[in-house]
């Protein structure tokens, strides 16, 4: 075990978990700070300038968010985060239109908060179709078309998957939903600011947005709700009637400002940043593929955000790998379920065998990732995988030419 100690760094580990959360961009923090200190008003106070000043900041932020996704500022509702946005969009639509329609279509690979919300609605009597995905993680549009019935009120399909980073064909899904006169909700927590999104071009009716996945603060998100034609929702939170009655509660001005600023920065820098991340990711993947045999990239590599990789390292337990590499902060899947040792349901949905799914790491690159970090990470991972494989009886058998036919590795 001394080998591990030798690799330990005294400083912070390298952060490669950008799909769990992102560090705040210092520019975002700078924009927020005045609203913690001197400009502290309640944005709903109408009787003094403290309130007006806060309200103005909130409205500016609303416009910044709208601009990034091609929406009007009036169509943006602030929430406490993407989980609330997803809950509000799905339950809100289901409850409002329940007299006429009672069916929802979603994917088996959606984020837990979408799946959990749908299961909850099933308990209330709604019907939900959980569509499988193709081996590359993408929805089969023909199956989607077949799943939509005249009872379908909503299709909820994420823009970008949080574990494997694949980008769903939003424009095609939107066109299909429009044709079938079904509302289209997309959980875009992992997509906003990473890839161009346009609610008009993509026919998106509802879109969930997260602050902390785009270098903004935690505790803030937004829901885009189309006004033309108007989408109606039953609110989850009642009270003072803020956010046009869709979501009561005092808006956290500094957090709203942070989300707006994060969107503005993303708007300006998305193109260059995507190109840079693509280069870093290719560099990482080339390096690790050169060093290690028997590794598999999960999910489509082309239809994917540049900042994500999800790799199975055959014959090596993902958890032991993660625990072994103290110099890196990566994850074996979604942060929400990090504590559980269940294999990822997303990978299982791609047809990845349970054993192989257990050997997977999610590696996320982002705005502050450097070339040097990527090189170090590739080296560290390769070294640890080789070491762990040396200790693996399976690996030994394979090296001795034993055919492990009983294990059907999925091809990628």
């Amino acid at each position: 075990m001394n080998a591990i100690n030798g690799l330990r760094r005294n400083d912070q580990p390298i952060y490669l978990d950008y799909q769990a959360t992102t560090p705040m961009d210092p520019r975002v923090l700078d924009a927020m700070m005045p609203y913690f200190t001197t400009k502290f008003g309640n944005p709903h106070s109408r009787s003094h300038s403290y309130g007006w000043e806060a309200e103005e900041a909130v409205e500016k932020s609303r416009a910044q968010i709208g601009k990034l996704i091609g929406a009007d500022e009036k169509e943006v509702i602030f929430t406490s985060g993407a989980t609330e946005s997803n809950n509000l969009a799905i339950k809100g639509v289901a409850h409002f239109y329940k007299e006429r329609k009672n069916h929802i279509v979603t994917l088996v690979t959606e984020h837990k908060c979408v799946l959990d919300t749908c299961r909850h609605l099933e308990q209330e009597g709604f019907e939900v179709t959980y569509l499988p995905v193709q081996q590359n993680g993408l929805v089969d549009l023909e199956r989607l078309r077949e799943a939509i019935t005249d009872k379908t009120v909503l299709v909820s399909i994420m823009a970008v998957n949080n574990e494997i980073g694949v980008i769903q064909p939003l424009k095609e899904i939107g066109a299909l939903c429009r044709e079938k006169k079904v509302f289209f909700h997309t959980d875009a927590a992992q997509a906003v600011g990473k890839i161009p999104l346009d609610v008009e071009e993509m026919n998106i009716d509802l879109m969930s947005i997260s602050g902390h996945k785009i270098y903004g603060p935690k505790g803030i998100g937004a829901l885009y709700v189309r006004r033309k034609p108007r989408i109606r929702l039953v609110a989850l939170i009642d009270g003072g009637g803020q956010e046009r009655g869709f979501r009561s509660g005092t808006l956290p001005t500094p957090l709203c400002v942070g989300l707006g600023e994060a969107c503005e920065i993303a708007m300006k820098e998305m193109g260059a940043e995507a190109a840079r991340l693509q280069t870093l990711r290719d560099r990482f993947l080339n390096s690790i593929q050169a060093k290690l045999p028997d590794i598999y990239v999960n999910g489509d590599l082309a239809q994917r955000i540049p900042g994500n990789l999800n790799i199975s390292f055959a014959y090596v337990e993902g958890e032991s790998l993660m625990m072994g590499i103290k110099s890196l902060s990566v994850s074996s899947g979604s942060a929400c379920t990090s504590a559980s040792l269940e294999p990822s349901y997303v990978l299982r949905a791609l047809g990845v065998e349970e054993e192989l799914a257990h050997t997977s790491l999610r590696i996320g690159f982002g705005r502050f990732t450097t070339e040097q970090e990527v090189d170090t990470a590739a080296e560290d991972i390769a070294r640890h995988v080789s070491r762990l494989r040396q200790m693996s009886p399976l690996w030994e058998m394979v090296q001795e030419g034993v055919d492990l036919k009983s294990i059907q590795w999925a091809a990628h």
């Binding site: 913690f36 003094h48 837990k112 603060p217 803030i220 939170i237 803020q242 005092t250 956290p252 957090l255």
Partner: protein, 376 residues
């Protein structure tokens, strides 16, 4: 706005600098509290520390604090979790309680703004159906403190559960959840020097609560969503300071009482809502009969003084206060009432400037201050 005077602490309180510093530190770091790596564990430690401070704020156990996205969400979570129960709310509850249940029954209050306990007893006795009784600890418009322990005794005798909205009380008066004997208590960070966008539901030990948001199972499955680590850390620090600062409440009350005394000297017809009963040390709700609240607000704003005509949430619409109406105030009083709320940044001369500006206004505009003959 360094020259202006902020007396609207019940709408939102300026953040404590220590809470800002704590948040800035967290926001400069990275970490999802559910991640198992070192960054995630550091975030988790922040949550644990804050949870202990918020528990101490209300005299609860750490494990019984469930963080939320604010007071409104917290109140909604409690009421929606009780959807199979009969819901009974006091007539002066905040909209986030009053409107969170579509068929809530209302308990009246006395002219002093205190819940009518006999009426509550009668309502509970009228039906054996399991109930949830919601009574706030202190009212946001008048500051009147409610006899919550009594409410709990009566409600529990009738097998009802009790929810106490302590959003305005927390950090302003000492709270001991065990002594209040309530089942659910809700608090908000930005009313006590913490950030906007954070609150909590505090539970009686082992009390179940339905998940308000479904998803990743955070907050032990009681509230999904990546935790607002920085906001929660700021809440924790603010809660701790608020508790340490509770001994200064007497001085704040003295300032408020002097203000009310001075106003009464100038305007014998001024009415202090709830003035004869026990109130928060920082809140005053004063009517200048015959002068519309909006007129007063405009004049005070020009003088650089920020107060309000009641709750901040009413989204611009000037509607009569349901709180003052429940106290039996007539329309003239209700339409001329201002809420003045003090806080940790309030100095004696702030209150003095308010009294001066208010008095000038009274002398200029109040019908009572002008002899009838001047009307020509």
């Amino acid at each position: 706005m360094t020259d202006s005077v902020y007396l609207d602490h019940n709408a939102t309180t300026p953040m404590r600098p220590q809470a800002i510093a704590a948040m800035a530190e967290v926001m400069s770091a990275v970490g999802n509290a559910s991640s198992v790596h070192v960054f995630g564990r550091a975030a988790r430690a922040q949550l644990d520390r804050a949870r202990a401070s918020v528990a101490a704020l209300v005299g609860a156990q750490t494990a019984d604090v469930v963080f939320s996205g604010g007071g409104t969400e917290a109140n909604n979570a409690v009421l929606q979790g009780a959807h199979r129960r009969r819901v009974i709310v006091s007539a002066i509850e905040h909209d986030s309680v009053r409107l969170a249940s579509s068929d809530a029954e209302t308990v009246p209050v006395t002219p002093d703004g205190v819940i009518d306990l006999e009426a509550l007893s009668r309502m509970l006795a009228a039906s054996g159906e399991p109930a949830l009784v919601c009574v706030m600890l202190a009212n946001n418009e008048t500051g009147v403190i409610q006899p919550v322990a009594e409410v709990a005794r009566i409600a529990h005798a009738a097998q009802a559960l009790v929810h106490c909205d302590a959003v305005q009380a927390a950090g302003r008066i000492a709270i001991d959840m065990a002594a209040l004997d309530v089942d659910y208590l809700t608090v908000s960070a930005h009313k006590l020097g913490g950030p906007q966008g954070v609150g909590a539901v505090v539970l009686r030990p082992a009390m179940p609560v339905a998940a308000s948001q479904r998803g990743g199972g955070q907050e032990r499955g009681r509230r999904a969503g990546t935790e607002n680590v920085a906001g929660i850390a700021g809440f924790g620090v603010a809660a701790k300071i608020a508790v340490e600062d509770l001994p200064t409440a007497a001085a704040l009350a003295a300032l408020r009482d002097k203000m009310e005394h001075d106003l009464a000297q100038v305007a014998p017809d001024a009415h202090i809502f709830g003035g004869r009963t026990s109130r928060l040390p920082n809140t005053s709700c004063v009517a200048m009969p015959g002068v519309a609240a909006t007129t007063q607000l405009m004049a005070l704003d020009l003088a650089g003084i920020a107060v309000s005509a009641g709750s901040a949430c009413s989204s611009g619409k000037v509607k009569p206060s349901h709180v003052l109406a429940a106290m039996g105030a007539n329309e003239i009083e209700t339409a001329s009432a201002l809420r003045i709320s003090l806080g940790w940044t309030t100095a004696a001369d702030h209150v003095g400037r308010f009294v001066g500006a208010w008095s000038d206004l009274y002398r200029r505009l109040s019908p009572a201050s002008r002899p009838a003959t001047v009307a020509a």
